[in-house]
Amino acid sequence: MVLKRPDGPATVEGSDAPGRVHRLVGYLEEQHTPFVISRLIMMCGVQVRKCTPLTSEDETTLRRIEAALPTILTPEQTAAAIEVLRRR
C-alpha cells in the first residue's frame, strides 16, 4: 500500500471557531475511554490529540472526523458527538 505522512491538525487563518476538535476529544474521553480517541485517529487519519484549544480546523478536517464517528460510536452517540464538534 502507499503510505502517507501524518495529517496534523489543519488550520485556517482567521477561523472564528477554534478548538472544536479539542473540545470533541475532551467530550469523548469523558463519555467513553481514551481507546475511543485512538480508534478515531485510525479511522479518520487526523491526529486529533494534537489539536489544542487554539487550533482552528478547516472544513475538510472536520468532515473527515465527522465521517469517522459512526464507525466507532452508536447513532445516538454519533449525533451527540457531532453536536459537540459543530457547536460554535
Binding site: 501524518p6 495529517d7 481507546f35 485512538s38 485517529i41 485510525m42 479511522m43 479518520c44
Partner: protein, 401 residues
C-alpha cells in the same frame, strides 16, 4: 524446572521515561530475581520511540537484548486494552532457564526485503550456533514487505514457525518503529529465536468465511489492486462490500472500518483444509479506482469476498488460544509466556468489545500466564501444510512453555 520465566509490566504514565521505568519495575518484580535475556517491548507512538528505547536500554543495561515494535491503539493483556490519553508502554522480560536459549537478530529492510529477511535469519543462526533450528521465531517488522521477509527467513530456517505482527501507529501515517538492537527504526525487522529445551509454537486465525463473490485479479502491483475481472478494483470492492463504501468508491478515501468485517481472501490449501489468506483493503484512490491493500495480491489469482462479524472477532480469541495449545501440545499450566498479535483494524472495529473479550477469554484460558499483546498492521503465523504466511485482520498467538 521451567524452560523460561516471563513477566509483564505496563504503564500509562504520560512521561515516556517514567512509563518505561514503571513498566520495567513491574516486570522485574515477577522474575523472581532471575536475569532477563530478552525484553520484548512495545509502546504506542504517543511516546517518542528514541526516548522509549533509550529508557529501556538504560533500565535494562547492555546485557539484555531489546526486541519489539510500536503498537496501534494500545497494549493488550489480561487486563484488556491498556490505553491512556498519553500513550501506553508494555514490556515482557524473558529469562532462559537451563537448556533453553533465546537470541535476537535484526536489521534494516533494504531494497530487497527477501535478502533482509535472510540476513537477519543468518545472524540468528550464527548466534545460536550448534543449537539447530529455533522452535519458533517471534517477528516484528515494518509494514510493507512482510511476504518477502518470510521467504528470506525460510531460506535459513525452512521449518521454523514464525509468529508476529507488523509495527503500527494510530493514524496509518508511517510513524511506527521497530525496536531493534541498534535502536528504533522506521523500516526494519527484528526477531527472537526460541531454541533448545523448550516448546514454542502457536496459531493464526482469521474469523471470516467466503461470502460467495469472487473475481480474478487482472491488474495489480504488489499491494495496489488495480482491476478485478477487467473492471476498476474500487467498483468491484464497492459491490462486494455493499452500500457502506459508496462515498469512497465515488470520491476515494479510507475504507478500513467498513472493510474490517468484509475483507478479501485468497484461498490456499493447508493440511487442515482450506485456509484463506485475508487481505484488508485500506484506501480507495480516485480517479484511478485502485485499492491499497495491507497484503500483496498478484495478477491472475482469485480473490474472494469474505465476511465476518464483530462477535466473531472476539470469539476468535479463545479459538486462537485453543489452536495454539493444540499445535504446541502445551497444557494451560505449562505455558510460560504468550505473545498475542491482534489486527489493529479488527481492534478498531470491535472497540469496547475487545476489552471485555480479552478479560473474559484470556482469564479463563491462560490464567496467570504472562501475556503481552500488540495491535498490528499485518499478522504473521504458521499454517500447517502451508507454511509461514502474512495476512491481515487476523489473530496470531505465540506460546512458549
Amino acid at each position: 524446572m521451567s524452560a523460561i520465566t516471563a513477566s509483564i509490566g505496563t504503564s500509562l504514565n504520560p512521561d515516556t521515561r517514567e512509563a518505561v521505568h514503571d513498566a520495567l519495575e513491574r516486570a522485574r518484580a515477577g522474575l523472581a530475581g532471575k536475569a532477563p535475556a530478552v525484553a520484548v517491548v512495545t509502546t504506542t507512538v504517543d511516546h517518542p520511540a528514541k526516548t522509549s528505547f533509550a529508557a529501556f536500554r538504560e533500565g535494562l543495561g547492555s546485557n539484555v537484548a531489546i526486541h519489539g515494535a510500536t503498537t496501534s491503539l494500545g497494549v493488550l493483556g489480561h487486563g484488556g486494552v491498556i490505553a491512556g490519553p498519553d500513550g501506553s508502554v508494555g514490556v515482557m522480560l524473558l529469562a532462559a532457564d537451563e537448556g533453553a536459549h533465546l537470541f535476537t537478530a535484526s536489521g534494516a529492510i533494504g531494497a530487497n526485503a527477501r535478502d533482509s529477511g535472510r540476513d537477519a535469519a543468518r545472524q540468528l543462526s550464527v548466534r545460536a550456533k550448534g543449537l539447530g533450528d529455533p522452535r519458533a521465531i517471534l517477528l516484528h517488522a515494518s509494514p510493507g514487505k512482510e511476504e518477502e521477509l518470510l521467504v528470506g527467513i525460510a531460506e535459513v530456517f525452512p521449518h521454523a514457525p514464525v509468529f508476529g505482527g507488523s509495527a503500527a501507529d494510530h493514524a496509518i501515517a508511517g510513524e511506527w518503529s521497530v525496536f531493534t538492537e541498534e535502536g528504533p527504526q522506521g523500516n526494519a525487522l527484528s526477531m527472537v529465536g526460541f531454541f533448545g529445551d523448550l516448546r514454542a509454537g502457536g496459531a493464526l486465525v482469521a474469523p471470516f468465511e467466503p461470502s460467495g463473490s469472487e473475481g480474478r485479479v487482472t491488474a495489480a502491483d504488489d499491494r495496489v489492486l488495480a482491476s478485478v475481472d477487467g473492471r476498476p478494483a474500487a467498483d468491484v470492492l464497492g459491490e462486494w462490500v455493499g452500500g457502506a463504501i459508496d462515498f469512497q468508491v465515488r470520491e476515494g478515501g479510507n475504507v478500513l472500518a467498513q472493510t474490517a468485517l468484509r475483507p478479501l481472501g485468497k484461498r490456499r490449501r493447508g493440511s487442515d483444509g482450506d485456509h484463506f489468506v485475508t487481505i484488508h483493503p485500506a484506501q480507495i484512490k480516485r480517479p484511478a479506482g485502485t485499492v491499497d491493500l495491507f497484503a500483496r495480491t498478484e495478477t491472475g489469482e482469485t480473490l474472494c469476498a469474505m465476511r465476518g462479524t464483530r462477535e466473531g472477532l472476539i470469539e476468535a480469541i479463545p479459538r486462537v488460544v485453543a489452536d495454539a495449545l493444540a499445535t504446541t501440545g502445551l497444557k494451560k499450566d505449562e505455558v510460560r509466556a504468550a505473545i498475542l498479535i491482534y489486527c489493529a483494524g479488527c481492534a478498531g472495529s470491535v472497540g469496547a468489545l475487545l476489552d471485555e473479550g480479552l478479560k473474559r477469554h484470556l482469564g479463563a484460558q491462560l490464567p496467570g500466564t504472562p501475556l503481552l499483546g500488540f495491535c498490528t498492521f499485518g499478522e504473521q503465523g504458521h499454517v500447517p501444510g502451508l507454511g509461514n504466511v502474512h495476512q491481515d485482520l487476523s489473530l496470531s498467538l505465540l506460546l512458549v512453555g
